[in-house]
Symmetry: D3
Subunit: 176 residues, 6 copies
């Protein structure tokens, strides 16, 4: 268990991509990392795009970046909902200001666009939103996982193995 003592936040909202939320959550728990599911406050249980459910532990207002080593955003339609909340984009920006891990996959990049943190980063995403992340100042790279400093990004559920290998490596080597 490589991540004992580490703590991360996974954001959740209606329509999350089921495996893009659940695979990282269980995977990090397998390494002893504590994972808190945080929602926008709109509901306490959300349904994924294909039917899995998730119950949130806290709302984003109850989360401080000081207590965590990073924040993850799933894909699906959840990012389209999450980015509308000031409380969400502010929290993401706080993690960014302290150079803590920002990780996302698929459509999750939308949340980082609205948090205004992408300028100057190399990253990847689902092909649908390439224009949006480019317009936000990021450089798009078509690769299963892109690591640029504290930002780790992948494209689709197929990339989950590569995505988690890099996230675990990052958290393992990051000084607390």
């Amino acid at each position: 268990m490589k991540l004992k003592g580490k703590r991360v936040v996974m954001l959740a909202e209606e329509g999350f991509e089921d495996l893009e939320l659940w695979y990282p959550v269980i995977r990090l728990r397998e390494e002893g990392c504590e994972v808190i599911i945080a929602g926008s406050g709109s509901k306490s249980t959300y349904k994924g795009k294909y039917g899995l459910s998730v119950t949130v532990d806290k709302t984003v207002e109850e989360i401080s970046e000081d207590d965590f080593d990073g924040i993850l955003v799933p894909g699906g339609w959840a990012p389209d909902k999450l980015r509308r909340y000031k409380s969400v984009t502010k929290l993401v920006r706080n993690f960014w200001e302290k150079n803590k891990l920002l990780a996302t996959i698929c459509h999750g990049g939308w949340v980082f666009i609205s948090a205004k943190v992408l300028d100057g980063y190399k990253m990847t995403c689902v092909n649908a939103i390439i224009d949006d992340i480019k317009n936000a100042g990021a450089e798009y790279i078509d690769r299963e996982v892109v690591v640029d400093r504290n930002l780790i990004t992948s494209r689709t559920p197929k990339d989950l193995p590569a995505y988690m290998r890099e996230i675990i490596k990052f958290l393992e080597t990051q000084e607390v």
Copy 2:
């Protein structure tokens, strides 16, 4: 019937916002306007976000902007699918180059972002994508309908009455 002899294209893809597609289609037909439903080619019948269906008349490859007075894009998840097709963004751009009507509502702005036609326009959209259309060079205005030259935009299904009043006025007064 104010629009006899007019012809417009309505784009369709999986997950279209049901009323944002169907209300304009029936409304324009009520005015004698011919409406062709055009899809990306991925399927011949699409299901809306809430359950209505639509069968396409043609694929976008079979459409020439020369035969139409304008193009409409519904909201919902369809724009996220439509913008991935070169054939779709090229067709939208062709309408733009000839100053023909471009109309959209809700999430439809994404298709215009990927068609790279928004720079310099005043417009509106659903709040989720405000950052995306701003990053694409448009000026966001929070109003039920915004008309800037050949671009007519609204925010959500609640705005459909205002949206269609402006679209009909535009097509009625536009010289063929």
Copy 3:
């Protein structure tokens, strides 16, 4: 906006034909007409046959025909539910007694049968209920829209453009 100052009631119940309820509602609002959605009181939000929802503004008990210029009934399975309520058939009959607009499409004729107002009218309806409206004393005509005095009827969603053209014309010319 041709119908400023006009007011109509749209009845709603579980299983309404989605576009047969929503197209007239939005269409009349586009013309400045006030539209109140009235339910039987069984629920406050109903689901349409294909998945759209509608929330009622009032129950039929709270509606007086004196405050409105007409009443509309959607098709789908809602009429099968609506006709079972005395409060519904009584309200419809009140509109009929004052020669105000009665409009329906598809299966909506069932509500008028149970309100016992169809005797002597020319009308149309979905083919399934032709025998029922004939047995109730109406004369069936197979046409997209039939206007006989204050009764306006259509057959299926395909007829919505013709249906609304006649309803708007009727309300526009009707003296308040």
Copy 4:
């Protein structure tokens, strides 16, 4: 097994009331009666209102009343579909002309209305269609099962025990 050698037809179409079709079918088979499921020809497998399925054995065109002792019609939305077919109403009328068993429950009365066989019968039905069967010349009685000569009718699924007791008694005593 009281009905060995007897044969009846059960009509089926999309949206049949699940138990109103399946309870009589299995019940008659329990008594050794042969039951053939006959559809309009629109599909080979139909889904009930609540989710059960039924696969038809024949289309109504392939059925002759000479080979059967009676015909049953389930409720739900299936009758609204069935009554639109000339082949269906003609077959029902043929059973009626030969004084063979006609049995139905709930909304099934619509099929008999369109077959024009109800005039002069005492019967019952779901409350929604009372006006329709009265207008067709029948006398409505509010009782769990009404037997008038060869017509056996009930109101809702709750009446299935009484309904089947009378149907079995009728078939048992009817001379072949």
Copy 5:
């Protein structure tokens, strides 16, 4: 009506096989038998595998075998839920100890396995659980219905006619 004065319990839980619960319930009521639907207490209304619903009359804790002539268990996924409750298996065992009717079909055998009452019985079941009932000490027979003393079992919904013929015969001849 052959079963006047008789009383049986039908167990219910989420995912019951729709006809395996409802056919016996209505069938027994047709014979004048009183049928009480008893649940585990987890919910008051359960949904069947295909969509039918059932509302329970009592929880198993409120049932005493002294007041009933037998207990029936439907198939589907309900048995997988029911067998987890001590209160359920205890009640079944009480019926067994007093030699009262135990009847089940399809997957219902699981409940009897966990009640530890199958040892030495001849019986049948759906093919999926043959190994489980054999390991529990029963002898499997591939026949539409197997009657061994007070245990009556069938395989699938196709066997419902034979199943109910034997259950009714058993209850009819059983001394009260």
Copy 6:
């Protein structure tokens, strides 16, 4: 990547527990292990209990235990289907005879019961099937993961982290 060169089979059938199939599959791929999804042959794509899908790579007939290091069985309703196939139980038994990895979680134990390989093993499972695995000769232990020689078992999705830690450790240390 600890499992380069290793190969395992994951069985699939309708109603598999979504995460119990997908988490191990992606997890093993993250470690460089090749995972083949094998079905009974009944379909090529299966739907999970909550809505995720899986497309099989091969049928069990096309799989030889000689080419793999182990076989995994997900929970949900899939095991109830899988155990009915001779080809499935024979394949599982072949892995057992060669002392290769047998791993399962939740209801998956049913497949091993029907493969007749559990006698003498210590193991765990979902509480519903405890009686079945005991009757098959296994000793039940209530722990998140139980490893007894080549058999690794867990109880529910909550146990997935512990389950995969042991499976990976087993495959890593197992000589090829």
